[in-house]
């Protein structure tokens, strides 16, 4: 863009319209400059102005004529038609076209600054040792490596080096207000990067931060927000009085209603309202909605905090050193309390106040309650509840991210190799405990939790139902994706690879074979990954290969558990697996339906039918809650049962046909 000095006539026009500059020679203009669109503007330092004319094309806003009105602009480069009105001070910014700023006290860059990039936050452990640097490309998986792989100091150093490189690339004396951004009614912003199409309205104070944004998924910062040292990613909404210090707000996350958070990272699709968060690793879909809830020094994902959820992490000894690890899909009941350190197995429900440091990681889908002061674990109980089924189906539907470049890598499977391996292990543990426990014994102890001896056998049986469902489901999924045309084709389709056959990890939303993660870690250590983008690409490749890895795990686990070598399985074995899948899917679904039925039972009708008799109660209930038969969840599940039976029949016929076709 070519710039020129203002003409005398233009200076005269500007001055006659209330504009002022001590040295007009420092104001350069380009294009069809229209002095008529500039009123009461004080220019200072070096200012570049591109064409300030035409109409602004800002999505969601009425068309507005470009212009600068009642502003103070210092050391800025304005690169296209913009609309500024009542802007107390704009300093140190490059402003792209179609930006609209109204009623703002000050937007100032006092560089050099990295706009929040590189600020270290103390995740998981307030006492330090697991610091994660904030940066604009921080994903849940990279944060997972940084926070939880401290046993790999060389990798951590290398990774932090890559992040430092990224942060250095962001260091600047000037900030950017990206194309189409809208900023209004803001008190003060200092050293803040405003991404394209970001919307900031009513914020009180923003300091040292980045609001990443894009046309497809603008980030929104709303009224009353106070944020210091932050990264807010595309599609995120931060509003209604949230107070953030040293925080990441991930893509599609919702933060507001006076939530206060420090040293915390909320990854994709998290929701934080009313509550307090400190040193919180909120993996994707972590949700805390209640005023009296505190999430502190914990790793969570797909988590739902009941009101009054609380944890403590220091016990008045050596300080706030302890951490909690709550695996994906957990919920806490109202006023539940966990004493860190503590680890909760995936998809579990924690109720009551626990004074024991338990580790139930081996037992997914559990209920953890308190009886007579002891933490009581009921394994597998949450396998067949309405909540688990509904949650697992709603998460993918509620992925709000519209940015084509999704940072967090998220697998939604309820039954994955990671979870299923846990169920195999838990079955073995339950069997061993059963064999070792005399009938007179009421409880058996396992890693700080007590299990009712009476439940050992039953819980093992419930895990086995899920396991049999999983194996058959994976077989059918594999057959569906490969569509074999004959026996040779079938053998080929079912042949598993080796990668993925071992242990798996849940990297804050992404399932991955540990062996593959180790390769990535080694690559980082040896400097073979040269940038944060290269690391992202490696992790994305792992993510994309999930189905192949998962099939390898499934095939090897199936052979270990049942002796069936899937690629060489007989027709009867495959038919048996499909039949097993059908039987156990129906069984599990029917148990969930029984749970749903309770929602329509007498207990659920308590409080219905104001000022009336039984008939009023029935009518009131039916008007508000509907009935079991017509409930959408119930109907969907019944339809799923029908589809399962049909699919099993179809695959039985197809397998017969495949075995008859060489």
């Amino acid at each position: 863009m070519e710039y020129r000095k203002l003409k005398e006539s233009e200076i005269s026009s500007l001055e006659s319209q209330g504009c002022y500059c001590a040295d007009w020679a420092s104001v350069m203009v380009s294009g069809p400059f229209q002095a008529a669109n500039i009123h009461q503007v004080r220019f200072e330092g070096s200012v570049k102005l591109a064409a300030i004319d035409g109409m602004l094309a800002t999505a969601g806003e009425a068309p507005t004529a470009a212009g600068l009105h009642a502003c103070h602009i210092r050391d800025c480069d304005i690169r296209g038609p913009v609309y500024f009105s009542r802007l107390g001070r704009l300093q140190g910014y490059t402003v792209e076209r179609d930006v609209r700023i109204e009623n703002v006290d000050s937007l100032v860059v006092e560089g050099p600054t990295t706009f929040g990039n590189g600020v270290e936050i103390e995740l998981l452990n307030e006492g330090g040792g697991r610091e994660v640097p904030l940066f604009g490309r921080l994903s849940a998986q990279v944060a997972y490596l940084l926070a939880s792989y401290r046993h790999e100091p060389e990798m951590i150093n290398k990774l932090k080096g890559l992040i430092r490189d990224y942060c250095r690339s962001k260091e600047s004396q000037t900030g950017l207000i990206g194309q189409g951004a809208g900023i209004r009614d803001v008190q003060a912003a200092r050293n803040v990067h405003f991404g394209p199409h970001s919307r900031v309205s009513g914020a009180l104070l923003l300091e040292e931060g980045t609001i990443a944004s894009c046309a497809e998924d603008p980030a929104v910062v709303g009224e009353g927000v106070i944020a210091r040292h932050f990264i807010i990613l595309s599609g995120a909404h931060v509003g209604s009085g949230a107070i953030l210090d040293k925080c990441l707000v991930g893509q599609g996350a919702r933060i507001g209603k006076q939530l206060s958070a420090e040293n915390s990272a909320f990854f994709a699709n998290c929701e934080g309202f009313h509550s307090e968060a400190v040193s919180l690793f909120a993996g994707p879909y972590t949700v805390t909605h209640h005023r009296s809830s505190l999430l502190i020094a914990g790793m969570f994902s797909f988590f739902n905090a009941g009101s009054g959820t609380n944890q403590s992490n220091h016990m008045y000894k050596l300080g706030p050193l302890h951490q909690g690890w709550v695996e994906r899909g957990c919920k806490t009941g109202s006023f539940s309390y966990m004493l860190w350190p503590c680890r909760v197995g995936a998809f579990s429900v924690v109720m009551d106040k626990h004074a024991a440091n338990f580790d139930t990681a081996d037992f997914p889908f559990s209920y953890i309650t308190v009886e007579d002061g002891r933490s009581v674990l009921t394994p597998a109980m949450n396998l067949f509840t309405v909540g688990t089924k509904r949650d697992s189906e709603k998460w993918p539907r509620r992925d709000r991210r519209k940015d084509p470049d999704k940072l967090d890598l998220i697998h939604f499977d309820l039954f994955s190799p990671y979870i299923t391996a846990k169920m195999i292990r838990s079955s073995e543990i339950l069997q061993k405990l059963l064999e070792e426990s005399p009938r007179e014994q009421k409880y058996v102890l396992y890693k700080g939790a007590s299990i009712l001896r009476l439940m050992l056998k039953a819980c093992r049986k419930y895990y086995q139902i899920a396991l049999r469902k999983y194996f058959g489901e994976q077989l059918i999924k594999r057959l569906e994706s490969r569509a074999p045309q004959g026996l040779a084709d079938l053998r080929l389709a079912l042949q598993p690879g080796e990668t993925g056959a071992g242990e798996w990890a849940d990297m804050a939303g992404m399932f991955a074979p540990v062996s593959v993660v180790r390769v990535v870690v080694e690559s980082l250590k040896q400097g073979r990954i040269g940038s944060v983008e290269a690391l992202r690409a490696r992790l994305k490749a792992v993510f994309d290969n999930y189905n192949e890895y998962a099939w390898a795990w499934c095939a090897h686990a199936l052979e270990r558990e049942t002796g069936i070598a899937i690629a060489a399985a007989t027709k009867e074995q495959l038919l048996g697996l499909a039949e097993d899948w059908k039987t156990n899917t129906l069984k599990l679904n029917n148990m969930i339906l029984k749970d749903a039925e309770k929602e329509f039972g007498q207990n659920s009708r308590i409080g219905f039918g104001a000022d009336g008799d039984e008939e009023t109660k029935e009518t009131d209930f039916s008007m508000v809650r509907g009935d079991y038969e017509n409930n959408e969840f119930v109907r969907t599940l019944l339809a799923e049962n029908e589809a399962t039976e049909q699919k099993a029949t179809n695959w039985a016929a197809k397998l017969e046909q495949l075995f008859a076709t060489p």
Partner: protein, 79 residues
């Protein structure tokens, strides 16, 4: 096994799991509404019956049983 014997043993299990007196439990009592069994206790009852009678019941069918009398009849099919 006679129905009465099954019933006595069923009542014993219920009394243990729900921490109540066997004499206070009636055949028509609903496990949830009358005896106050929660979800976990419902599973404990199934596990208790299985252990008491040395049987393995169909999980989803067992959860359909709602009253003490129907539990007795359901278990009678297995013993």
């Amino acid at each position: 096994m006679e129905r009465n014997e099954i019933k006595d043993r069923v009542l014993k299990v219920i009394a243990e799991v729900l921490d109540t007196e066997a004499s206070l439990i009636g055949e028509d009592d609903n496990f949830v509404f009358d005896l106050g069994a929660d979800s976990m206790q419902s599973l404990q009852l199934v596990a208790g019956f299985e252990e008491e009678f040395g049987i393995e019941m169909d999980e989803d069918k067992a959860l359909e049983v709602q009253t003490v009398g129907s539990a007795v009849d359901f278990i009678a099919q297995y013993v």
